[in-house]
């Protein structure tokens, strides 16, 4: 196969490319330029998007003996990922930009370009496994390395995209093994630190970065009964489940800390309450996709596991499609789920599909949470 290896400059994508070469594919390395104003050197725990990262990727490609190019996707990345990220926060939602990047850049714009230029597949260093079922259909599964499993952020891929994807690290035993392998292959990125932060936020402080982009918009902090508890300088500074940074003068009657329960952009208010009130029982998403073959019957409730963040646990749930929306009921209350987050459904280790959460239903009635009410 002709394989385009997306190379961030990190150790995972370098080893993935190496394995694709070793498997006998004709591999070309491509680094995506996602920013026009790339920094010169990598800082903190960002793993890509500086010139140093691009040079690291090029060096890895050289060592593997494959051609290497930098393709400019900065404009599309800005509109589809960065601007979307800002707009989602402004709408009171909590987006996952890595997911958007996979959905719209790596496995969309890049994949489409690759196919048009004669490639058969795009290879990345994601920790996830592509398996084939008895009928020959492709399935996306969790990585064998659960600690690094990245199937969640790939949950947005559709059957067509899976056909042209390659995740050579899927069967990796551990990140240490990947580093060891990189070292043995003479790849200079073998000991490069992992990246955790959002690549386009240089200082790693999302709230500061957002404040710079959207400015201040003062509003009120209220409880679920509508009592005003304090002021805030912009709803973008808050995420559901957040505890720190709430400037509430009056302590709660129970003396327990309060958490952000909800953000209401229309009225520019932040709703807070006790931790227990973060519990939700149901999530509803308007847009959903199936990762591979769609389930046959989606009208009846089906048992699955649901995961709502990249490194969260999958919990027991059931889902159905009703009125064109995906409804997911969790068997036990789930804390701190924000609209904008992605709910990925799993059948065992297999990724079934995903939806972006539009609204949640609280597991705790408002009246139960009065000032002297339930405690966390």
């Amino acid at each position: 196969m002709k394989v385009l290896a997306a190379m961030s400059g990190g150790v995972d994508s370098a080893v993935a490319a190496a394995r694709a070469v070793e498997a006998g594919h004709e591999v070309v390395g491509v680094h995506l330029a996602l920013s026009r104003n790339s920094g010169t050197l990598r800082t903190g725990s960002r793993g890509c998007c500086t010139i140093e990262d691009s040079m690291d990727a090029q060096r890895a490609a050289n060592v593997l003996g494959i051609p290497y190019y930098v393709w400019d996707f900065s404009e599309k990345f800005k509109t589809d990922v960065v601007d979307d990220f800002i707009a989602e926060y402004q709408a009171g939602r909590t987006p996952n930009p890595c997911m958007r990047c996979n959905e719209r850049i790596k496995f969309a714009a890049l994949l489409e370009k690759a196919l048009a230029l004669g490639f058969d597949a795009v290879c990345t260093g994601h920790y996830a496994s592509l398996l084939t079922d008895e009928s020959g259909n492709l399935e996306l599964h969790r990585s064998n390395e659960m600690a690094k499993d990245q199937s969640y952020v790939l949950g947005v891929l559709t059957a067509d995209q899976l056909k042209h994807s390659m995740f050579p690290l899927g069967a990796a035993a551990s990140k240490d093994d990947i580093r060891r392998e990189a070292n043995e292959r003479g790849l200079s990125v073998a000991n490069k630190p992992d990246s955790y932060d959002i690549c386009f936020i240089p200082e790693g402080d999302t709230q500061d970065w957002l404040s710079e982009k959207v400015g201040k918009a003062p509003g009120q902090i209220v409880d679920r009964s509508g009592n005003v508890l304090g002021d805030h300088e912009g709803t973008h500074e808050f995420t559901v489940g957040q505890r720190k940074g709430l400037s509430i003068g009056r302590p709660a009657a129970d003396g327990k800390p309060r958490y952000v329960l909800e953000i209401r952009p229309k009225t520019n208010t932040v709703v807070v309450g006790p931790q227990a009130a973060l519990a939700i029982s149901e999530m509803i998403g308007v847009k959903y996709t199936w990762c591979g073959v769609a389930p046959e019957n989606t009208n009846d409730w089906t048992n699955v596991h649901v995961q709502v963040r990249a490194h969260g646990d999958a919990i027991e749930a059931e889902f159905r499609i009703s009125d064109g929306q995906m409804e997911i009921r969790v068997n036990e209350p789930l804390l701190g789920v924000a609209p904008g987050q992605t709910a990925v459904l799993y059948l065992g280790t297999r990724v079934l599909g995903q939806t972006t959460i539009d609204r949640t239903i609280s597991a705790v009635p408002v009246f139960a949470e009065a000032e002297s009410g339930i405690s966390a």
């Binding site: 790339s38 010139i51 691009s54 040079m55 930098v70 400019d72 589809d80």
Partner: protein, 390 residues
């Protein structure tokens, strides 16, 4: 063997100078040393100085060896500016154009941020031509504030030729020094420093068959150039650093060959270029020849292809064994839309679809045929891939 059509990036080493270059590498001696070994090394440097002087038509004392085009441009632009400013603190304007190479633009921007300069960017037509009438009018009102004018002789992306003598004719009326980056010009079009009216000029060896790492800044005897790089002052006190006799040798020999063979090479290159342009336009009738009908160096063929991304074209041609360029500045591997095309008023999407094919002394008919054979496939693929986001 790859088909190499990126001579504006760098050229193959001229085979004629390899033997002498290797021999010179083995000659012991610092050209600035007084003893016999030093004098033998000096001999090679001064022979080369004569050859360069003859090739660019200037006095031998006007040739200052440097590490290449970027250093030459820096020494000249900063040196002319600081000398003018030192004489008259009101003189802080540098006139240049947005279509210059980064080695011309960035020194000016540095002077702005660090030395109180004010850059004046000349208006540029859609084909890249600077507005000389505007320059004349501007100087008639502001000449006493202008420290220097810096304009490249041949544009390294589009091949457009700047009418240097017309610029100096206007500037000389006001006694304003003019610098020209002639890196893409020397060896390809006839150049006479003496007749140009320039005060300083930059050339770079690897654009005409010498190795990378050597060039020259030509500094007129009467030019006032402040010293910006300090040390032993080996080159007229303006450029410091131990002279490399092998590199000087290579530069001199390559310059002599380039000047001597220029008419013949240019004829050949022009003919190839016509065939390439014709062939490309047959396949891609909507392609735009970037410098239009304006005079240019024939060996630089620059097109923009609507709806195509230059990096797709480059990838597909490279995969077919043909080396060309998108022509845009590539900052350590991170792609940027060409600032040259943007300065010419192109949109980012238009600038994105650019491809530069540049020919040289070693280009053969077989290279041209190979390019034209690979081009239809590359164009079709790049067209299919389109632009990201569209």
């Amino acid at each position: 063997m790859a088909i190499y059509l990126d001579h504006a990036a760098t050229t193959p080493l001229r085979p004629e100078l390899i033997e002498g270059y290797l021999a010179q590498l083995q000659v012991l001696g610092n050209p600035s040393s007084v003893h016999g070994a030093g004098q033998r090394a000096r001999m090679a440097v001064e022979d080369a100085r004569d050859q360069v002087a003859k090739a660019v038509d200037c006095h031998r004392s006007e040739v200052l060896f440097t590490s290449g085009g970027t250093e030459s441009n820096n020494l000249a632009i900063k040196g002319l500016y600081l000398a003018a400013k030192a004489q008259d603190s009101e003189r802080n304007v540098v006139i240049t154009a947005g279509t210059e190479h980064h080695a011309g633009i960035d020194p000016v921007e540095w002077l702005e941020t660090s030395e109180g300069a004010e850059a004046v960017w000349l208006p540029v037509s859609p084909t890249g031509v600077i507005d000389l009438a505007w320059l004349d009018t501007y100087l008639s009102k502001n000449a006493q504030r202008v420290a220097l004018i810096s304009l490249m002789w041949v544009n390294n992306e589009t091949g457009l030729i700047t009418p240097v003598s017309k610029v100096t004719e206007i500037a000389n009326r006001y006694e304003i020094p003019v610098h020209s980056d002639a890196v893409a010009a020397f060896g390809h079009i006839p150049i006479s420093f003496k007749d140009s009216g320039l005060k300083t000029m930059a050339i770079s060896g690897h654009k005409f068959g010498a190795p990378v790492g050597v060039g020259a800044v030509i500094v007129a005897r009467d030019a006032k150039v402040a010293v910006t790089s300090h040390g032993g002052g080996q080159e007229r006190g303006i450029r410091s650093g131990t002279l490399s006799s092998p590199l000087a040798y290579a530069l001199g020999k390559a310059a002599a060959l380039a000047a001597e063979e220029l008419p013949e090479i240019r004829n050949r290159v022009s003919e190839f270029a016509q065939d390439i342009s014709r062939g490309i336009l047959e396949i891609a009738p909507d392609a735009i020849f970037t410098r239009g009908e304006e005079p240019g160096y024939e060996g630089i063929i620059h097109f923009t292809f609507p709806g195509c991304s230059g990096d797709s074209l480059l990838y597909l041609l490279d995969a077919a064994g043909v080396c060309v360029s998108t022509g845009s500045a590539c900052r350590a591997g991170v792609a940027q839309p060409s600032h040259v095309l943007m300065a010419m008023g192109r949109t980012e999407d238009q600038a994105r679809g650019s491809l530069r094919i540049s020919l040289g002394q070693s280009t053969t008919r077989a290279d041209v045929d190979a390019l034209l054979a690979a081009f239809p496939m590359a164009y079709a693929g790049a067209h299919r891939a389109g632009l990201p986001g569209n």
